[in-house]
Symmetry: C2
Subunit: 243 residues, 2 copies
Amino acid sequence: MKENRYDDEKFFKKYGEMNRSIYGLQGAGEWHDMQKLLPDFCDKKVLDLGCGYGWYCQYAIEHQAQYVLGIDISKRMLEIAKQKHSHERIEYRQMAMEDLKLDSESFDVILSSLAFHYVKDYEELISHISKWLKKGGDFVFSVEHPVFTAYGTQDWYYDENGNILHFPVDHYYEEGQREALFLGEKVVKYHRTLTTYLETLVNNGFSIEHVIEAKPPLEMMDLDGMKDEMRRPMMLLVAAQKK
Amino acid sequence: MKENRYDDEKFFKKYGEMNRSIYGLQGAGEWHDMQKLLPDFCDKKVLDLGCGYGWYCQYAIEHQAQYVLGIDISKRMLEIAKQKHSHERIEYRQMAMEDLKLDSESFDVILSSLAFHYVKDYEELISHISKWLKKGGDFVFSVEHPVFTAYGTQDWYYDENGNILHFPVDHYYEEGQREALFLGEKVVKYHRTLTTYLETLVNNGFSIEHVIEAKPPLEMMDLDGMKDEMRRPMMLLVAAQKK
């Protein structure tokens, strides 16, 4: 079963209250790092896998992309995307990225923001992405960091008074399904090692251009819980190029 | 001050009792992964930074290296190296790798096994390595994994009965000095993020070829404590190429 928590009404409402949903890219802690990894979009054909509200689709269009295809499994997500980020050169399609069929070498840029940890078969997905991307094309994605996904609960370890002691890591090399609480709801995610994230790219004809563990920017440090994000890596950003 | 615990008699004796000291490369948990990253040594000039007993120097010679220079800060280490792995095409020099001065583009291959976490200024070292290496040359190294070095003590987190609960991560983005117990002795090491390890390579003209978190091989699983090494990543192996 493909994970689609975002079509659950309660979950979706809570997601809508997050800073990244209200303020878009500027409200996302990883944006200042992610932005530096994005390629030139001018006249490019762009695919966004797990496009959500369509913030990245809109960004690509604002940077002169020729055409953007945004894919998301969630109907509710795409309803917002169409309201907020409609454009004659953006096409939205509701489907699981695992089911997507596209022509070989049909895109110049492929993006994905915080979606691959919901995908069970990463190897197969990367082999498709490699096929869809033109030679020399750019592939940039963010995922939850393996340190963040390994243990499973994605929660800190606390002392008896509820103070954070540290972040726990366990079962690191046991890849596969985890059940975490996100926005107070149970969500199924998939843990993979850093090795798998990167070597799968190498094995599918990509060169690794950048590997960045997103760090909260100074101007967000006063937000609730943000200082603690200096204690563990939570997000992994990768830029790769099809050789 | 450059870290040289290995010239402490008690520490050095304990180090000599480790499997990797007795059995060499075959006794090291990361070897089966590391071996795959090593380049063709035939007719190559090879530099080994922190060569210890000289196991890698010997390996390069056995694989037809033209010349091998092994550098180590520890006099005791090099005494063993000269006893065990002497060869007319191996030269050993006792010095800190931070103080090494070499001609530009004078080596085809640069190796380092589990030594860079003792080095304070990684950026400077990498800029030197980039200078010393010929264009197209190979740079392969192992370090303690950032997950392993972040917290500081490098120990598991236990319950009241002494059972392992998990491995703690903290202060991840605070790079710098840590004091850990290794072989029962206090040792100074330096924590760096994965981002720093990899992006410093990119910024110094390297392409990232492979990033592997060494996993204990099946045939070592029955060794004391080895099964627990499936619960956390302990070593990071990187292969890069000078562009």
